[in-house]
């Protein structure tokens, strides 16, 4: 709660730090000095208050950061080395001081006695002091060079002493904000904030901040990303303090954290789902892995009877492996909570390392409700989603919290789905449960595998089917492992249709909903050929319409966000259509998308304020698209920029022209 703020350079009015800060501080209002400390009471950030850390200036991390980012490990390793090799070390360093001293090995056992006997205590203490000073100096340097800045458009992090790195991520591309509190850091009341970007290795990490600050900064990032304007700049509730007071308060906070244990996040909304621990444990035991385990054990026993008894010994590592997976998945799922916030769904999980993940609206690319065979008697389901994690693909594979609901009954599933798909009309909800998850039922709206192709889905051909609504595409699959895939059309990347020789003979085809990589598969086989062709055309048209009217990347800019989140708005579509033909003209370009924005936001406030706010900062740095400082893959390609209106005209002409120019140069 006491991250010191970096003061602006003298002479510069604090109010105009950098252009892209829309809610600028009025000049004359004091910026927080170095070592600003807030009393605990004033620290709780109101949801619409800007934390002093996100005022568009550079700020440093929590002073204890280096310790948690490897410093602690360094100290521990050094301690281990010293305690194990102290004879050698003392011999090595102090031999010169007592050249006439006896051979150490021949001396009495302990090297500390050796030091005492030869009067080397001051020397030893001096050496220790030097080591400590060097360490603290290194930590200080690392801390000094590690800073972050949150402006109206971007979040930036600079770090590194020798190898400087500067990472900037555009806020309108934010896919989510994770607040992670590893066990040790949690004990000291610290947390790290991860701004999830779209792309591989595209996350910006603010580690570490005090929990309260992290909460405030997260709220600010989400609010800025939402495009909502701050009603007015709140007076900062800071109390000016000296550096010593700040330092004292840091220590106090850390001690309080240690004594009182894990500190809860400041603003925690009530979870809509509560998972009883017993259910969680049972569900982890009776997961699909249990069947695998039983099969493996049975195979080992059979192998032992038929072949050599030694095979029995493989059971031990099998159990160890499965046990480890079991414990990990259990500790991850404990303390699970999911709650709606104005800036998206907030999911908290983890017993030791607590992660609080905020998924803004419209960041979910696919949802799957599934039920392993053994959960069926209990009526439990789990929900998995595809969303951008900003991590590498191989990390995605064991991304345990693609599972947004580890286990839940029907009511839980419904509650969570309502959070994940806020824009779905009430009339379509029966598609999800009655017909989708539990179906097929009489007068089934789903289009199923035709009887002639039942050989492809011997058991599940009555259930395998699809349904398309204006908002989403539903794939119902499996009769033993029942699943329902839901693909919001506004997020659908493309639609595919395949047909091999066998399918052709049966007059069927498979339809693919292409989403970002993740656990949810978008393939549905055995669809009647004509139905598949119709679905291919309809889903594509609906995806285009939904994508055009979707404005959830700036969800806060909407006056009625719930309607436009994932549900295509026909009015928005027609208006953008009118704009689209003017694509070629450069003059139309600037006006067109801004017009769409304005059309999407109906209210006078939004129409007047939002496009201007979005466009103004961007116009001042048109080169930002191609700027080398931009590191995130997600933002490299020019089309990755979302609002064409914000990339001013000169930048628009660059990507295509520049690319073709360089290519021609290479050829010649």
């Amino acid at each position: 709660m006491t991250d010191p703020a970096v003061p602006p350079p003298e002479g510069q009015p604090p109010g105009q730090p950098t252009p892209p800060v829309p809610p600028a501080v009025p000049p004359g209002q004091p910026t927080p000095p170095v070592g600003l400390a807030q009393p605990p009471g004033a620290a709780a950030p109101r949801p619409d208050t800007r934390s002093p850390l996100s005022d568009g200036e550079w700020h440093r991390m929590h002073p204890l950061t280096p310790l948690f980012r490897g410093g602690l490990a360094l100290v521990i390793v050094a301690g281990l080395v010293i305690s194990n090799l102290r004879e050698r070390i003392i011999d090595f360093f102090l031999r010169a001081a007592v050249p006439e001293g006896p051979e150490f090995e021949g001396d009495t056992g302990d090297p500390v006695d050796f030091v005492l006997r030869h009067g080397l205590v001051p020397l030893a203490l001096l050496a220790l002091l030097v080591v400590v000073i060097v360490l603290v100096g290194l930590f200080y340097l690392a801390w000094r060079f590690h800073s972050f800045r949150i402006t109206g458009d971007d979040v930036e992090v600079r770090q590194g002493v020798l190898f400087r790195s500067h990472r900037r991520s555009p806020l309108d591309r934010v896919q989510g904000v994770n607040l992670t509190r590893p066990m040790l850091a949690r004990l000291c009341g610290m947390a790290k904030l991860e701004v999830v970007g779209a792309g591989t290795d595209a996350n910006v990490k603010l580690e570490y901040l005090s929990t309260a600050n992290a909460e405030a900064v997260r709220a600010d990032i989400l609010r800025l990303a939402s495009g909502r304007r701050l009603a007015e700049q709140q007076a900062r509730g800071g109390v000016h303090a000296t550096k010593t007071q700040a330092a004292a308060s840091i220590v106090t906070d850390a001690l309080t954290g240690l004594v009182l244990g894990a500190e809860e996040p400041v603003a925690e909304a009530a979870s809509v789902v509560h998972i009883p621990v017993v259910r969680l444990i049972l569900s982890r035991i009776f997961s699909g892995r249990l069947i695998t385990l039983l099969v493996l054990v049975a195979a080992a026993i059979v192998g032992a009877i038929v072949g050599t008894p030694w095979i029995l010994f493989t059971i031990v590592p099998i159990f160890l492996g499965f046990g480890a997976v079991f414990v990990r998945s259990l500790t991850k799922s404990l303390r699970y909570a999911i709650a709606p916030t104005p800036d998206g769904v907030r999911i908290t999980y983890g017993l030791f390392t607590t992660v609080t993940e905020t998924l803004p609206p419209g960041r979910i690319h696919a949802i799957e409700v599934r039920q392993p065979l053994l959960w069926r008697p209990a009526g439990w389901w789990s929900i998995t989603v595809n969303r951008m994690t900003g991590k590498r693909a191989d990390q995605n594979g064991n991304d345990l919290f693609a599972e947004v609901l580890p286990v839940g009954d029907r009511r839980d599933v419904e509650r969570v789905l309502r959070l994940l798909m806020p824009g779905m009309p009430e009339a379509e909800w029966p598609l999800v449960f009655e017909h989708g998850i539990l179906g097929p039922q009489p007068d089934d709206p789903y289009t199923n595998t035709p009887r002639r192709a039942r050989i492809l889905h011997l058991l599940s051909w009555r259930r395998t089917g699809f349904e398309l609504t204006p908002a989403a595409l539903f794939f119902r699959r499996g009769v033993i492992w029942r699943t329902l895939g839901i693909f919001p059309l506004a997020r659908l990347q493309s639609v595919g249709m395949h047909q091999g020789p066998l399918s052709r003979a049966l007059g069927v085809a498979s339809v693919h909903a292409h989403t970002i990589p993740g656990r949810v598969s978008g393939e549905l086989g055995g669809v009647d050929r004509d139905a598949a062709v119709r679905l291919f055309a309809d889903a594509e048209a609906a995806a285009v319409a939904a994508g055009t009217s979707d404005r959830s990347h700036r969800w806060g800019a909407e006056v009625v966000p719930d309607l436009a989140r994932s549900y295509p708005n026909p009015r928005g579509r027609t208006e953008s259509r009118e704009v689209a033909p003017g694509a070629g003209g450069a003059g139309m370009d600037a006006a067109g998308p801004a017009g769409v924005d304005a059309a999407g936001a109906a209210g006078a406030d939004a129409a007047g304020g939002v496009p201007g706010m979005v466009a103004a900062p961007a116009r001042e740095k048109p080169g930002s698209v191609a700027a080398p400082a931009r590191e995130e893959p997600g933002s490299v390609a020019a089309p990755a920029r979302e609002e064409p209106g914000s990339v001013a005209a000169p930048a628009r002409e660059e990507p295509g022209a520049a690319a073709s120019r360089t290519e021609r140069e290479e050829e010649s």
Binding site: A490, R491, Q493, G496, G500, D530, V533
Partner: protein, 209 residues
Amino acid sequence: MPVAADAVPGDALAEPGAAVPAPAETEPDAADAPVLDGKTFDHVLEPRSEHRLPLGDGTWHQIARAYVWVRLISLTALFVVVLAAAAVITALSGETWLWIPAGIVAFIAAWTAAITPRQARSFGYQLRADDLVFRRGILWQRMVAVPYGRMQLVDITHGPLDRAFGIAQLKLVTAAASTGVSLPGLTQEAAESLRDTLVAVAETRRTGL
């Protein structure tokens, strides 16, 4: 030369294009058509079965004829190199088992070369009002429709042999890895014009990720 796919013979299929916007009005690059259709095949090869995936309406552009030659040359080179390497190593070391993997590779190369002329005719793409439709394959048909607003980048690659024949490969990348739309063997002018068109259109129809 483009071929408007007429109603597929004997196809009583319901019109799939009920929801498909009429392509004529706002087709992004009607002006580019001559560039896109220079030196290309003139009709899309399809499976014979009645139950195939139909071509539907609209103008299908195809890839350049030179693509077949590029493929044949590179496959022949692979065939010759593999067999020659196997012969040399066998002669030097006396190991005869090497002919097994070499034979398999050579067979696959020969088979691929044999189907290449037909396969190349099966590639096609349509530029519709709001999306690009891609198709390929005869035995294994595959159709993909990519809304322009979903494109993340357009990638053009051409190797030395491609350059000699004046062709290039154009790849469309969306956020989904499974989209997999890649047009091999476009003429270079077609590839460049298509890329510029796609980037321009994508820019105006950008949607959230």
